[in-house]
């Protein structure tokens, strides 16, 4: 094929410039003009190319929304690390996690074993975490995502596939359901970290267990004006609108029907007028134990960890914390994950960390501090309320604290909660999500 010689254009350029100037160019003038053109041409072409594309057309998702009815096998993006590699020496393991969601004592044990240091960087919510990961500025080895963003993270090439040979503890120790979770068939990118349910935390010195467990609609107790000023919900639109849906008798916590959302919104607006509800993210674990709330929508792990926030640690204060989840176990039940980012500088160490956190002892020690239960096969869920955890043993508390307080058996999560009875919260379509967001905004605006 005929090709134009790269230097051929210089003749045209010189002639053009001479025509415009009306005189011959000196060699120096021509070189200066050529250099300018050499710099400007690609820049201009890049700008013109960028201007020619509508950025709106570049945002088509390339992933499927995973639901329990539609499990997703994520595409393989990149290759897992090779088998049998030695962990990186002298490394600092970079961990990216929610605040107060990992006991440093356990991480230190890992680092003692593998001769490394660690650094934990925290985020406040998944939106913030993903945004910062997108910048590419963070060099992370271990990340704690929620499963609703997993498909996007893989599609955006932010996670690397796992080499299972480094993580035998998943097959050996984790609940069987996590060998093939609906959001990541074949656990190609993630391992489970904790499991939890979403119910109600309450002060037992104000509300007896029988009162809330015997109520026709315990969720409606949050709407009772006698608790005005002492009621809280999470600053999380999926959890709280889901809570209001269930209060209204709608168990589809992923509904995209506007009639359902309108009902939930009306209920939430009524919650403002009835009890002047407060919307916070730390109300259940940090403020209810201090007596600032009597009732609060709560993740099971938050209230189990709440004993560490009781101001004067005495038996009575510890026993003042209660948790309600329906006896038929029909309520939101979910799990969180650990994954390895694609730009991890210490991927072998990261794989070993995932395996370490799936070890029975390490997982349970971590549970004793964070309050969120690991999905461990060896853990006798019936014994969690009678077994003292490591954090309680090495702390100087007035009374031993069990993994789960004995009067809070509803906070223990069983595998069947996630596989059979529980309601899994999954991603919504953009239109459905807008519906939820608008309802949430109206509630938060206090209209």
């Amino acid at each position: 094929m005929w090709q134009r010689h790269p230097r051929e254009g210089s003749k045209d350029l010189r002639e053009g410039l001479e025509r415009r100037l009306g005189r011959p160019l000196s060699r120096r003038e021509f070189l200066r003009a050529s250099a300018g053109a050499a710099v400007a041409m690609p820049t201009m072409s890049a700008i013109l190319a960028a201007c020619g594309k509508n950025p709106r057309a570049q945002t088509t998702p390339g992933f499927q929304v995973a639901t329990p009815d539609h499990p997703v096998k994520l595409p393989l993006v990149g290759q897992p690390i090779a088998d049998g590699l030695q962990p990186e020496s002298g490394a600092t393991l970079q961990i990216y996690n929610w605040d107060q969601y990992l006991w440093k004592h356990v991480v230190q044990e890992f680092c003692d074993q593998y001769k490394c240091d660690f650094k934990i960087t925290t985020f406040n919510n998944m939106e913030e975490a993903v945004t910062k990961m997108q910048t590419g500025e963070l060099k992370l080895d271990v990340f704690f995502p929620t499963y609703d963003v997993l498909g996007k993270l893989v599609d955006g090439k932010f996670l690397q596939p796992l080499n299972h040979s480094y993580i035998p503890n998943l097959e050996a120790n984790a609940w069987d359901m996590f060998k093939n979770p609906f959001y990541d068939q074949g656990w190609q990118y993630s391992v489970p970290y904790t499991v939890y349910t979403t119910g109600i935390a309450y002060r037992r010195d104000y509300i007896h267990d029988d009162q809330i467990f015997g109520a026709d609609n315990p969720r409606a107790m949050l709407w009772d004006p006698q608790y005005s000023g002492k009621v809280g919900v999470y600053d999380s639109y999926r959890d709280t609108i889901g809570f209001a849906l269930q209060k209204e008798g709608i168990n589809d916590v992923n509904t995209e029907k506007s009639a359902d959302i309108d009902k939930a919104k009306a209920a939430l607006l009524e919650l403002i007028s009835a009890v002047n509800v407060r919307v916070e993210i730390n109300g259940a674990y940090a403020k209810l134990p201090k007596g600032e709330y009597v009732l609060h929508e709560s993740w099971s792990g938050d209230i189990v960890a709440g004993w560490g926030y009781v101001p004067k640690y005495v038996e009575a204060d510890y026993e003042a914390l209660g948790y309600w989840f329906p006896d038929d176990r029909i309520g939101p039940a979910d799990n969180d994950l650990i994954a390895v980012p694609s730009n991890a500088e210490h991927p072998v160490l990261a794989h070993l960390f995932l395996n370490f956190m799936l070890d029975f002892k390490n997982a349970m020690d971590n549970f004793s501090w964070v309050g969120y239960q690991p999905p461990q096969k060896q853990a006798d869920v019936n014994a969690l309320t009678t077994t003292e955890g490591l954090y309680s043993k090495i702390s100087n508390w007035a009374a031993p604290a069990m993994y789960v307080p004995p009067w809070m058996p509803a906070a223990v999560v069983r595998e069947s909660d996630l596989t059979t009875t529980g309601l899994r919260v999954h991603e919504l379509s953009p239109a459905g999500d807008t519906l939820w967001q608008n309802a949430w905004q109206e509630f938060k605006a206090g209209a």
Binding site: A50, C51, N54, P55, R56, T59, P61, G62, N124, N125, E127, E128, V130, T131, Q134, V149, K152, D155, G156, G229, K230, G232, Y237, I272, N276, V277, R278, V279, E280, G283, K290, G291, E292, P430, D433, T434, Q437, W440, Q441, E442, F443, K444, A445, G446, A447
Partner: protein, 323 residues
């Protein structure tokens, strides 16, 4: 320099075409010399205002990416007004559920600014006129809150206002409230948010007022007294009119950040009943797919704040023209 020796003229090119006159310095500088002194300010304005503002526009009229995070669209010909129309519908449309938040914010800011002015003026007047030797000490005490971050000061108030906090304990000790019924300051009360705003921003009111009141010549006040005016009359007819520019400046300085404040409500209330415009923006920025809406809310707030800002500039210019 020896006594009697003339001061050497500053270096510079002498003007060739004109003779020196005693009124002129005799030194000619290039035309760009004096305007160039504004260049740091212009660069600052470009980098820290014009550029960020364009980013906000590019987000407000842009789109969202795969993760539903805001994706700025830099080319205006690709901009969409869908987010702008969406927000305007929520403010002016049939349901208009955002409108109460705008009214609420306006009321909170007016009340908080008025309290700031009342307290701030009294404090600034005392320091400027009556503090005497303790003036420096009081000024240091006034500036000291600046050394602590706003967030930390609000967190301190959370502890003070708790049911068993020092505020309730003091009120109970003074028998102003019953022993077993502490005031629930932190249970979503508008008064707590307003007082939080006052506490957070009052130093910004006191300092400009003090600076201005301290510069009022005492001869003007003495003239007022000599002409038979009482102390109160001198204050109303001399001090207060003279301090008008400082009052406007103080009001602008405290009210503008109050309009965008969201921490005070987050930390001292958390109730939707006390949500302010800043909270709407904060919530939008932190929610999937709501980033462009947050940018639109920022632009609307900026347009609203132009009104007091322009009024302040107009009154300042008029005051300068009268001099």
């Amino acid at each position: 320099m020896p006594e009697g020796e003339a001061t050497p003229a500053p270096k510079g090119r002498r003007r060739p075409d004109r003779e020196e006159s005693p009124e002129e310095s005799g030194v000619w500088y290039p035309r760009w010399f004096w305007p160039s002194f504004a260049s740091p300010g212009i660069v600052w304005l470009l980098v820290l205002f014009v550029l960020p503002f364009y980013v906000i526009l590019a987000i407000a009229f842009g789109t969202v990416d795969l993760f539903r995070n805001p994706l700025p669209v830099w080319q205006p010909w690709w901009w969409t007004k869908s987010y702008l129309l969406d927000v305007l519908t929520k403010i002016f449309g049939a349901q208009a559920f955002l409108r109460p938040t705008y009214y609420r914010t306006l009321v909170y800011v007016i009340i908080a600014s008025a309290i700031c002015l009342l307290i701030g003026y009294a404090v600034a007047y005392y320091v400027a006129r009556h503090a005497g030797k303790r003036k420096t000490l009081i000024l240091i005490l006034l500036i000291s809150p600046f050394w602590i971050s706003y967030l930390m000061r609000m967190l301190a108030w959370v502890n003070l206002l708790e049911s068993d906090g020092y505020v309730n304990r003091t009120l109970q000790f003074l028998h102003l409230i019953p022993a077993n019924h502490p005031i629930a300051w932190l249970e979503g009360k508008p008064v707590t948010v307003i007082l939080g705003l006052v506490y957070g921003y009052i130093p910004y009111m006191i300092l400009p007022l003090y600076g201005f009141l301290d510069r009022i010549q005492s001869s003007l006040l003495e003239a007022g007294r000599d002409l038979g005016a009482s102390p109160a009359s001198t204050f109303w007819r001399v001090t207060l009119p003279l301090s008008k520019p400082a009052i406007y400046a103080g009001l602008v300085i405290v009210s503008l950040p109050m309009f965008g404040d969201y921490y005070t409500n987050n930390l001292l209330s958390g109730s939707p009943k006390t949500t302010m415009i800043g909270n709407l923006i904060d919530d939008s920025v932190g929610s999937y797919g709501q980033g462009p809406q947050g940018a639109v809310l920022v632009i609307i707030l900026m347009i609203l704040l132009l009104v007091p800002m322009l009024y302040y500039m107009r009154s300042t210019l008029r005051a300068q023209e009268l001099k």
